[in-house]
C-alpha cells in the first residue's frame, strides 16, 4: 500500500526508557534504538494524538488516540463528537487491547489436510480465494457485522463486481423488532433515533439505555444532564424503569415497576391510555389521529393491564398522568434481551406511547429514508442463508467483523451448515469460534491499524485512521476484497476503485481529508424527523408472549454491560472489571430471586443446571432481591471456548469454555416479523450439588449506616437548592478544610468532587484507570481471593443498610427489594487524605504526604510490609502478590504500557495518585509558559472518561476551580467518606438524591415533594447512625 508510506514512521521503536516494559524494579534498557527517519510530528517522549472512531459497538463514538513513539497507549473520547462528547465507555477504553492482544493471528493461514492451520502468503491466499470465487461466483456470500459506510459500499460493489450470491449484514443485537415497529407505527423502517437531552420524564421499558442499548454514553450524558439539580427542570426530572430485573440502568431510575418479562408493551399501552385521556382533556396534541389512538388504546386501561403485567394499576395510572404533564417526556422501547416473539408489538407500543406524549420529532426521530448502511438481516434471512448453505448452494462464505458460530442460536444449525460450504473465509484479527471452522483465515487489521469510517446517525460520520503500523502481517478487509477482485482479472478489477481501501475512504469525504482527519469526521447531526401514528399500527396484536419449554422460570438473557454480545470476552479488562450490578467478574452466574433460590435449595455459589429446549448449561447461582420470582437471568457474553482470556486457556486447559453461553440456551424463535427473539424460553433450574467460589469483589451491599454512599431526599434539599443556582451564600457542609493540607508555599492542593447522584456505576473509569496506569489484570483465581488490582472501584450500596449481624460465614449480603430502588454507586479511590493513616506507619517513607497534598506512593522504595493498607480505612491500596508485570502481559501487550508510569514489581504496594504523571505533564507545560496550571488543564483518566461527568478534579486552593464550585453547589449533599475518622480526605462526595417517585406534578409542571422519602437521611444524621 504505497499511500501508507506517509505513515511509515508508525513503527515500533522505543527510545531510551520509552518502552517501559521492564518491571519497575529491574532496569533492562541497554540499547538505544533510534529512528531511521524521524517523522516531523514525533518527538520521542512526547505524546501525539490522533482523532479516530471507536468500532466496539454501532454507537460509533469519536476517539482521541494518544500515541507515544508511534504506539497507541490510551483511548479517550473526542470532545467534538456529538455522540460521546469526550467520554468513552469501558468497552471503548478496553478496545485498545485488541491491537496488542497476544492471541492475534501473525500471518494469513489456510487449513491444511490435517485440519490444522498453516501459514500462507497473502499472494497465494488471495489467489486461492479468487480462484475459488471464480469457480461459482453466484455461490459466494458475504456475512459480516455492521461496518462503516465506505467499507459497506465497497462490499456491495465487490458483490456486484464478482456477481456474488449476496451479502448479509449480521449484528447479534440487531433490534429487528424496533426497526419493524417503526415501520408498523410510522411507516418508516429502521432504527429510530432517541435524543434524551432535556427529557424531564424518561420511561425505560427495559431498554437498559445506560448499558448496551443504541448509544449508551449519549443516553447517560443526556439523562444525567437533564436531571441536573442546578435547575428547576433538573429537580423535576424523573426516570421510571419497567422490567423484570434491577439492572444497572434501573438502579439509576427513580421508580421501578417490576413488570412481568415481555409485558412491557402492555405497560406502555396502559400509560398511553392514561396519558392520552389526560392530554386530550388538556387539549394537547397527541401525535396522531386521536380517534385512531383512542380506539387502539381503549382496551388497555391500567386496571385491565395490571393482571397480565403484574404492575399495580394505581402506579400505572400515576405514572401515566405524570407523563402526560411532563414537559419533555419520552419512552424507550424494550431492549434486545426482552425481545420476545411479540417484540414488534411491544416496541410498537412504546413508540405509540412516544407519539401520544408528543415526543416524536422532539425526543424521538424517525429513521432516515436512506440508511447509510444496509439494515441488518433478521432471523428469517439468516435461516434462508443456512438453508442455502445446507443445500450446497454456497461455495464461498466470507465472514467479517462477526462471530456467528458463537452468537447465532445453535438451533439455527449454522455450525453444521458451515461444513457444507466449499470455502469459509474468516476475516478476524484474533481466533474465535468462527475462525476455528474457517478454511482460510485472512487476519484483519484492528481498528487502530486500519482506515475506515463509521456513521452514528444521519449527518454524523466519524473517520477511522491508523495510529500504528500493523503489528503483524495483516491486511484490511477492504484491501483484501480489492486484491481478490484484481486477482480475478481486469474485467472484475475494473469495476472496483483503483488504489487501496484508504483511497476509497478518502474519496468518500468531500473537501480536505486532512481537516477531516484533524477533527475526526464531519459532525452535523440532522434534525429529528417527526411523524404520526399510521393506521397500520392497529393491526398489531398486543399480547404477553408465550414461552417455549417448561419450567417455572422465564430465562432472561440481557446483553452484558461489559462483554456486550460476547465480543468483549477476549479483553481481560472487560472480563476482570466487576459487573456493575453483581460485582462478579470472569465467571457467568445465574441471577434468581431469593424465593426461587429457597425453593430450589441453592445458595450463592452453588452450581445449578439450566435446561431449555435448546440445551443445557451450568452456571453459578447468585440469588438477589432485585429480580422477579418468575424470572432467572443469565447475561450474554460468556461461554467462549476459544481465546486466551475468553476461554479457560490461561488455566492450561485450552478450549474449555469459560462460564455458560446464554445464547446457546435460547431456542431459535422469530418475532412477528421474522426478527430475532431473545426472551423465548422457560428454563428448568436444578442443582448439580457442585459449588464454586464466586469471583465476587463486593460481598456486601450493606453499608451499615457508615458514611459511604450517602443519600439525601430531594425534599430536604428543596429550599436550599431554590435559593442558589450555583455557588450561593450558604457554605458547604465540609467536615474538614482539606485545602489546608499542603505545604504553605504550594499553590495547589489537588482534590476531587464526586457526585454520587451522577455515578451510574458503568465502570468506564475503572478500566480507563487500569490502562492509563499500567494496572495488570490478575485472572479469575486471584479475583476469587479479592486480589483485584484496580485502584478505583465502584462501590454499590443499597439504601443505608442495616446494622444487623449474621453469624457464621455469610456468602454475601443482599438488601435489594423488588420494586424498590435505592442504589448508590460510589466510586472509591485513594482519598489523598490530609491526615493519612497510611503515611506514619510506613517504616521506610515509601508513602508520604507530597507538598501539593497528594499522598505519594514511591514504588521503588516500598519493601512490602503492607502496614499502610491495614491502616487505610478506605482499603484502596493494592499489593503485587506476584510479578504480575511479567506473568500477565504476554507479548505484544507490553507495547501498550504507558511509558510515563512505572511498572510495579512483585512485593510492592500501589495505589491511585490522581494520575500524578498527568499533573506533572501539565506542570511542565505551565512552567515553560511561566504560568500556573489552569483549572481543567489536568484531568485524571477516570474523570476524563466519565460519561456523566460525575467526577470533577481540580485545585482545592483555587476557590474558582470546578471541583470546589461543584462541591459548594452540592450544598448539604457534600460529605467526606468515613469522616468520623478525621482522615481529612481531599475528595468531597455529593450525596445521591432520592427523588420521591410519588411526587405529584401540579398544573404548572413544577414538582412538589409529597412527603419525606422513607429512606432519606441527611448525611449529618447518617454519620452517627
Amino acid at each position: 500500500m504505497p499511500e501508507l508510506d506517509r505513515r511509515d514512521f508508525l513503527k515500533l521503536v522505543g527510545v531510551g526508557a520509552g518502552g517501559a516494559a521492564a518491571a519497575g524494579c529491574s532496569d533492562h534498557v541497554e540499547k538505544l534504538i533510534p529512528y531511521v527517519v524521524q517523522p516531523e510530528v514525533i518527538t520521542p517522549g512526547m505524546p501525539v494524538f490522533y482523532a479516530s472512531t471507536c468500532r466496539e459497538c454501532p454507537a460509533a463514538c469519536g476517539l482521541h488516540v494518544r500515541t507515544r513513539e508511534g504506539r497507541p497507549i490510551k483511548l479517550e473520547g473526542n470532545p467534538d463528537h456529538p455522540v460521546n462528547r469526550g467520554a468513552l465507555c469501558g468497552r471503548g477504553q478496553a478496545s485498545i487491547g485488541r491491537t496488542y492482544h497476544p492471541d492475534r493471528f501473525r500471518k494469513p493461514q489456510r487449513r491444511g489436510a490435517a485440519g490444522a492451520l498453516e501459514d500462507v502468503s497473502w499472494k497465494e491466499a488471495t489467489a486461492a480465494l479468487a480462484a475459488k470465487i471464480a469457480e461459482r461466483p453466484g455461490g459466494t456470500w458475504v456475512l459480516g457485522g455492521a461496518t462503516g459506510p465506505s467499507l459497506s459500499d465497497l462490499i456491495d460493489r465487490f458483490v456486484g463486481a464478482v456477481g456474488a450470491g449476496g451479502r448479509l449484514v449480521y449484528e447479534p443485537l440487531s433490534h429487528d423488532a424496533l426497526r419493524e415497529a417503526s415501520r408498523a407505527v410510522f411507516g418508516a423502517a429502521g432504527l429510530p433515533i432517541f435524543d434524551l437531552s432535556g427529557a424531564d420524564y424518561v420511561v425505560d421499558l427495559g431498554a437498559d439505555c445506560f448499558e448496551t442499548w443504541l448509544s449508551p454514553i449519549e443516553h447517560q450524558r443526556q439523562v444525567l444532564e437533564a436531571r441536573d439539580l442546578a435547575s428547576a427542570e433538573g429537580r423535576a426530572a424523573r426516570m421510571v424503569y419497567v422490567g423484570p430485573r434491577l439492572s444497572m440502568t434501573a438502579g439509576n431510575a427513580d421508580e421501578w415497576l417490576p413488570a412481568k418479562a415481555g409485558s412491557e408493551g402492555l405497560v406502555a399501552l396502559a400509560l398511553a391510555n392514561v396519558a392520552l385521556a389526560r392530554r386530550q382533556a388538556a387539549g394537547q396534541p397527541v401525535g396522531g389521529d386521536a380517534g385512531l389512538l383512542a380506539a387502539l388504546l381503549a382496551p388497555y386501561t391500567p386496571e385491565k393491564v395490571a393482571e397480565p403485567t403484574g404492575v399495580d394499576a394505581a402506579a400505572l395510572r400515576r405514572v401515566g398522568e405524570q407523563l402526560a404533564l411532563a414537559k419533555r417526556p419520552v419512552a424507550l422501547p424494550p431492549g434486545p434481551g426482552l425481545a420476545s416473539s411479540r417484540a414488534v408489538a411491544a416496541s410498537a407500543a412504546a413508540l405509540i406511547l412516544d407519539a401520544v406524549l408528543g415526543a416524536v420529532g422532539r425526543s424521538v426521530g424517525l429513521p432516515p429514508e436512506t440508511p447509510a448502511t444496509p439494515e441488518p438481516a433478521n432471523l428469517a434471512a439468516l435461516e434462508a442463508l443456512v438453508a442455502a448453505m445446507n443445500a450446497g448452494r454456497v461455495s464461498v462464505l466470507l465472514i467479517h467483523d462477526s462471530n456467528p458460530v458463537y452468537s447465532l442460536p445453535p438451533q439455527l444449525g449454522f455450525r453444521d451448515a458451515l461444513a457444507k460450504v466449499g470455502l469459509v473465509v474468516a476475516f478476524a484479527s484474533g481466533p474465535d469460534e468462527t475462525t476455528e471452522l474457517a478454511g482460510l483465515v485472512l487476519p484483519d487489521h484492528t481498528p487502530l491499524e486500519s482506515w475506515g469510517d463509521a456513521s452514528s446517525r444521519p449527518g454524523v460520520r466519524g473517520v477511522v485512521q491508523p495510529t500504528i503500523r500493523p503489528l503483524f502481517d495483516t491486511q484490511a478487509f477492504g484491501d483484501v476484497l480489492l486484491d481478490t477482485a484484481r486477482a480475478m482479472g481486469d474485467a472484475v478489477g475494473a469495476k472496483l476503485p483503483q488504489g487501496s481501501f484508504r483511497g476509497v475512504v478518502e474519496a468518500s469525504w468531500g473537501g480536505s481529508f486532512d481537516a477531516v482527519l484533524a477533527r475526526g469526521g464531519s459532525f452535523a447531526p440532522a434534525p429529528l424527523r417527526g411523524g404520526a401514528v399510521q393506521a397500520g399500527a392497529a393491526k398489531l396484536a398486543f399480547r404477553v408472549p408465550e414461552l417455549v419449554g417448561e419450567g417455572e422460570h422465564a430465562l432472561y438473557a440481557p446483553p452484558s454491560p461489559l462483554l456486550y454480545d460476547g465480543r468483549g470476552a477476549a479483553l481481560p479488562w472487560l472480563q476482570e472489571t466487576p459487573d456493575p450490578v453483581t460485582k462478579i467478574s470472569w465467571q457467568s452466574w445465574l441471577e434468581l430471586s431469593h424465593a426461587s433460590a429457597e425453593a430450589l435449595g441453592v445458595e450463592a455459589g452453588d452450581v445449578v443446571a439450566i435446561e431449555t429446549p435448546a440445551g443445557r448449561a451450568e452456571a453459578i447461582a447468585f440469588p438477589r432481591g432485585g429480580i422477579r420470582d418468575d424470572v432467572v437471568a443469565l447475561a450474554v457474553g460468556q461461554g467462549h471456548s476459544v481465546g486466551l482470556y475468553a476461554s479457560h486457556q490461561n488455566d492450561g486447559r485450552p478450549g474449555e469454555a469459560r462460564g455458560a453461553s446464554a445464547i446457546a440456551l435460547l431456542p431459535s424463535v422469530r418475532d412477528e416479523a421474522g426478527g430475532r427473539a431473545w426472551l423465548v424460553s422457560k428454563a428448568r433450574i436444578t442443582r448439580t450439588g457442585g459449588h464454586a467460589r464466586l469471583a465476587l469483589m463486593q460481598k456486601s451491599d450493606n453499608k451499615r449506616g457508615r458514611q459511604l454512599g450517602d443519600a439525601v431526599a430531594l425534599a430536604a434539599l428543596e429550599g436550599d437548592a431554590h435559593a442558589s443556582g450555583h455557588a450561593g451564600p450558604h457554605e458547604v457542609r465540609r467536615p474538614f478544610a482539606a485545602a489546608a493540607d499542603a505545604t504553605d508555599g504550594s499553590a495547589y492542593r489537588w482534590g476531587m468532587t464526586i457526585d454520587v447522584d451522577k455515578c451510574t456505576g458503568c465502570s468506564a473509569c475503572t478500566i480507563a484507570c487500569s490502562i492509563e496506569n499500567n494496572i495488570p489484570t490478575v485472572g479469575e483465581e486471584q479475583v476469587v481471593r479479592s486480589r483485584l488490582m484496580s485502584w478505583l472501584r465502584i462501590e454499590r450500596w443499597i439504601g443505608d443498610g442495616t446494622q444487623e449481624l449474621r453469624a457464621g460465614r455469610p456468602p454475601y449480603d443482599d438488601h435489594e427489594q423488588l420494586g424498590r430502588i435505592d442504589v448508590r454507586n460510589s466510586p472509591m479511590l485513594c482519598q489523598q487524605c490530609g491526615a493519612a493513616p497510611c503515611e506514619p506507619v510506613c517504616p521506610v517513607l515509601a508513602t508520604y504526604h507530597a507538598p501539593e497534598g497528594l499522598n505519594g506512593m514511591i514504588y521503588n522504595r516500598c519493601i512490602g510490609t503492607r502496614y499502610c493498607s491495614n491502616n487505610c480505612p478506605y482499603k484502596v491500596r493494592r499489593f503485587n502478590w506476584f510479578d504480575y508485570a511479567i506473568h500477565n502481559w504476554p507479548d505484544p501487550m507490553p507495547l501498550m504500557l504507558n511509558p510515563d508510569v512505572t511498572v510495579r514489581c512483585q512485593g510492592v504496594m500501589e495505589k491511585c495518585t490522581f494520575c500524578v504523571q498527568r499533573i506533572d505533564l501539565a506542570r511542565q507545560t505551565a512552567k515553560n509558559e511561566g504560568r500556573p496550571i489552569a483549572d481543567g488543564e489536568v484531568t485524571p483518566a477516570c474523570a476524563q472518561t466519565c460519561p456523566s461527568h460525575a467526577i470533577v478534579f481540580g485545585n482545592l486552593r483555587d476557590e474558582g476551580s470546578a471541583a470546589v464550585r461543584t462541591a459548594e453547589a452540592g450544598g448539604v449533599r457534600a460529605y467526606h467518606a468515613l469522616h468520623t475518622l478525621n482522615t481529612r480526605p481531599s475528595i468531597s462526595y455529593l450525596a445521591r438524591v432520592i427523588r420521591d417517585p410519588s411526587s405529584r406534578i401540579d398544573e404548572d409542571g413544577g414538582h412538589a415533594e409529597a412527603g419525606h422519602h422513607a429512606n432519606a437521611m441527611t448525611p449529618s444524621q447518617e454519620g452517627t447512625a
Partner: protein
Amino acid sequence: MTPPPPEAVAAMIRPAPRRPDSRINRDILSVMEGASLGYWVLLASAVLMVHVAGAIWIYQVYEGLGIAGYVHPVFWGVYIVTFVFWVGIAHAGTLISAILYLFRAKWRNAINRSAEAMTVFAVLTAAQFLGIHVGRIWKSYFILPYPNQRALWVNFKSPLLWDTFAISTYATISAVFLYIGMIPDLAIARDRAVGWRKVLYGALALGWQGTSRHWKAHTRSVLHLSGLATPLVLSVHSVVSWDFAMALVPGWHTTIFGPYFVAGAIFSGFAMVLTMMIPVRRIFGLEEYITDYHLENMSRFLLLTSIIVGYAYASEYFMAWYSGVEAEQTSFWMRAFGPYWISTWIMILCNAVFPQILWFKRVRTHVPTLFVLSVLVNVGMWFERYVIIITGLSREYNPSTWGIYTPSWYELGILAGSFAFFSMFFLVFLKLFPVIAIAEMKELAIHEKAHRQGGAH
C-alpha cells in the same frame, strides 16, 4: 623464738584426703554427657523440618507472597501472628532471671538458665518472621537507619521501626544476660571437661577462677543487667502491641494493649517453660533441682496472668459495646460469632477458662495435668494473636472490602518450621551447656549446709 624455716613448715603439712567432686556438679553436668538415640532422632527431625521450611521460604521469595493465603484486605497473616507469638514466648526468660532476681526469689535459680536460653532462641525465631513477612526481603535493608548514598533516612514514627529497635535490643540484652550468668558454670565445666569441650569451655569461661574480684564484679553486673532488663521486658511486648494499638483498625485501636500483651507474653512464656522443662527434668532425672515446688510457683504465675488476660478480653468486649462505636461493636461481635468464632473460642477457653483449675493445689502439683495445660495455653495464645490480627482486618470500616482469610499450606509449613527451629536450638543447648545454674544452686546448698553446722562458733 625464731620461726622454723619454711621447708620445715612444708614438711609439717600433711595434705588431707581428697574428697569427691560436688554432687550438684555431677548431677547437672551429667545432663551434657552422651546422648540417647531418641535425642538424635529428635534433633534430626527438627533439623529436617527447618530445612523444609527454608525451602518453602525460598520458593516464596522466588514466586511471590501470593502463595500465602492473603486476601484483600487481610494483608497480615500467620507470619505476623507467629512473630508476635514467639516474641511473647521470649518473655518468661528475662522475667524470671531479671525481675525475680531483683525480688530475690531464690526458687528461680532452678529454672532461670533454661528460661533465659529459651528467651534467646525465641527472639531469634521471632526476628526471622519480620523477614519472611515482607514483600521484598532483598530490599529490607531500607529499614535500617544506616548512612547511605541516597541521603534518605527512615521513619522513626512507624511502629515497625520501634519493633526493629526493640527486638534487636531485646535479643542482644538477653543473649548477654544468658552468657554472663553462665560464665561461672562454664568454669566448672572447664575444670571437669576433657578434649574439645575443655577447649570450648576454657575459651568461654574467660579464665574465671571465682576470686572475690570476679564474683564482686559479676554479681554487680548481673544486678545492673537485671535492672536494665526489667523495663525492657515490659517495653518489648508493649512496643509489639503498639503495632496494632497505633493503627485505627477496629479491635486494634485500644489503650489496654500494652499491659494486655505483656501479661499475655508472660503467660505464654511460663507455659512454654513448663512445656519444655517438665520433660527435661523427667528425662534427665533433675526432679531434685526442679522440684514440684518450682512447678507450683510457675503455675501460680500462670494462674495470675491468665486472670489478667481474661480480664483484658472482658474489658475489650465491654468497651466495644459501651463505646457505642458501631464499627468496634461489629468487629468484636464478628470475633465471637463471625467467620472466626472457632479461633476466638479456642482462645477464650485455653487462656481464660482452663487455667482456672490451677486454683486447686492438687492440680498445681499434678505434673501431667500441668504439662497438658501448658500446651493448651500455648495453643490458646497463638490463637489469641490470630484472632486479634485476622478478625480485626477482615471486618474493617469499609464493608465493601470485607474478606475472609484462610492460611495456605505454605504458611503452616513455615509455622511448623519455626517450632522446629526453636527446639533445634534448645536440644543443642541441652547437650552443650549446663541447663541449670550450678553456681546458684550451690549458693543455696552451701547456705543450707552452713545452717546445719550452725556456723563455726
